[in-house]
Amino acid sequence: MGYQSIIGVILFVIIFILISTEKFNKTILSLLGGALFMVLHFVSQELAFLSIDWNVIFLLISMMVIVGITKKTGLFQYVAIKAAKISRGKPVNIMILLSLITALFSAFLDNVTTVMIITPVAILIAVELGISPIPFVISCAIASNLGGTATLIGDPPNIMIGSAANLDFNSFLFNLTPIIIIIMIVYSLLIYLFFRKKMRISNERKARIMDFDESKSIENKPLLIKSLTVLSLVIAGFLIHGFLNLEPATIALFGAGLLMLLTGEKEVDEFFHDVEWGTIFFFIGLFILVGGLVELGIIKKVASFVLNLTNGNMKSTSLLVLWISGVFSAFIDNIPYVATMIPLIKDIGVHVGPDKIQPLWWSLALGACLGGNGTLIGASANVVSAGLAKKNGYKISFWEFTKYGSIITIITLAISTIYIYFRYLIRI
């Protein structure tokens, strides 16, 4: 390895560690790192900008705009309160139903957005029931990570994988949604086992919940109809985007444009307030950093190292990717991790043939997304949920979360191992 590569690797690892420690803002770190790679001539600006995956960027921005508008209709809040009432105020049933709804929302919305919508409602319900909101907050955070794994647009790692590996929305639907459904059933049972006995409440408390009038939650009916129409169109578009020969970002961008036009009357800047620009630029910086690593030839070297290690056996490579991704994602941000793994797996594909690496993509997606539950710092949704709880006077310690999260992670990774083995590996 040349000295450039060595410096490149060292810088990349330092930035990676700094991002994980959360001492500095990760967006600033990734942008500064990307710029540094260009300043040091590891990668030319032209190549660096070409390595930004605009499909990912525009899909994220467009979905954030659509969700930002839909959020204001009170729809999500309506569904969450409805769930509490359907459960007839029984805490453990509410918890399970809220978790299932969180997972469902999270399959289509960003995980953090989902918990920002659901967690306040969950805390409110718990407080009105007179029980601790902490189990509610934790179960919803975990559910958001589980649900996000189910679809192409559910979690940023999936968006990146889909874009890079040319896997369409339906591929995710056929390959990941089934396993997530199984996992959600198991997860519901686990919640029941964990919390069934811990929550007893009086009839008067239940009545408080039954008194909620969720229909009043809907704020703007015309806007709700517009949002739901566009959202349905976008999801329909995702379902047939392969057939239409359109990228998901095109569908989402069209939907966002249409919804903004239909919403009208507002300053256009207001629509973009709900875009998390910090996250968007975090991605941009990361793409440049990883593009630099590819350019320096480092990814190629690691790929052949992994292949040597597993003798090119896809069975062991696949399970290795699943579990290593799971463990890594429990401690570090899964977005930079997946961004680094993508070119690596692509390179393995160059050696063994692109058809054979399909199981690797699903292993990467499952490992990276499910691993986020491993610890409190494993996923942004966990951190945000704990932050929300703390603001309301309920402190969730690292271990309190990790106690539940690690068990769920091990169980879900085990289920994934069986799934991957029997669905993809047994025949090769």
Partner: protein
């Protein structure tokens, strides 16, 4: 603003005639129209000045004669000064004809009081009479630094009766105080120094937990347990828990426009006026309404 800055040498006449009001005003108007073009014609302006003069004479005992007119169509502020030979038929020592727009009332009054000061200062007025021409006259006025009285400042409009509270008082006392004095804003003072501020909104907000504030609305609720609970525990929560550091403060000589700007930009209703960390007044948006917009 200096008075001298408002004067124009060609519009200062030394040793002018002062036989009658009509003659003086006509002469002065002729001078003004020699140099400028105005939106309103000379004759109607003259008529308006005389109409004003008919209501009450503007010749003061001090010898100052201040004919003036304020009309909407006149978009300028012109002072024509005359020093007549004394004695004269009008018994005037100094004549100032002021042509102004009707929006210039503040400036107009301030200019008049500056001229009154000149006449009061007998020695200076003697010196002023030695001026050979308008330029000399203005130089003398400039040397003495006669000021058109400065604009209103916050000190003039702020309320100085400050009802404050200690950070260690409880919210019950705070609410009682607000209720008693019918005020929505109370500065928090500790050891004579400003420690923070609280508004009624801060009090109400403290009763709504953070998670409820994050929801898009609370219409589905009739009651919220923590809010009811808050009302029962108001005497247990100290003011320091809900007070905020003031984000904007003004000083006594801040201008009215600065206060208006800060109120609107920061969406505030009151801003504390602070000197060396000690609160000396509070300016509220109602002060702007009552003392500026409808004074």
């Amino acid at each position: 603003m200096k008075l001298a800055s408002l004067l124009n040498p060609v519009l200062v006449k030394i040793d002018c005639r002062a036989d009658s009001k009509e003659q003086v005003i006509k002469d002065m108007l002729n001078e003004a129209y020699k140099y400028y073009k105005y939106e309103i014609d000379k004759d109607s302006l003259f008529k308006k000045i005389m109409e004003r003069e008919a209501i009450s004479s503007t010749v003061f005992d001090s010898g100052l004669f201040v004919p003036h007119v304020r009309v909407e169509e006149f978009k300028d502020f012109i002072i024509i000064v005359g020093i007549p030979s004394f004695p004269n038929a009008l018994n005037a020592k100094m004549i100032t004809l002021i042509l102004a727009s009707n929006t210039a009332s503040g400036l107009y009054l301030n200019v008049l009081s500056a001229f009154a000061q000149i006449l009061k200062d007998e020695d200076f007025f003697k010196k002023l009479k030695t001026a050979k021409n308008g330029a000399d006259f203005i130089d003398f006025v400039r040397e003495r630094e006669f000021l058109v009285k400065k604009n209103l400042t916050i000190e003039d409009i702020m309320s100085k009766d400050i009802i404050s509270i200690s950070p260690d008082s409880n919210i019950k006392e705070l609410i009682d105080l607000m209720f008693k004095h019918n005020t929505s804003y109370i500065p928090v003072v500790k050891d004579g120094r400003m420690a923070g501020e609280v508004t009624v909104l801060d009090v109400i907000k403290s009763g709504i937990p953070n998670y409820a504030q994050m929801l898009s609305n609370l219409r589905f609720l009739n009651t919220l347990e923590p809010f009811d609970g808050f009302l029962q525990h108001e005497d247990e929560i100290p003011v320091k828990n809900i007070m905020k550091k003031p984000t904007v403060v003004l000083s006594k000589n801040s201008s009215v426009i600065e206060a208006a700007f800060e109120l609107t930009q920061n969406n505030k209703r009151q801003i504390p006026v602070v000197e060396d960390n000690v609160i000396v007044g509070v300016v509220s948006y109602m002060d702007i309404l009552n003392k500026i917009l409808r004074s």
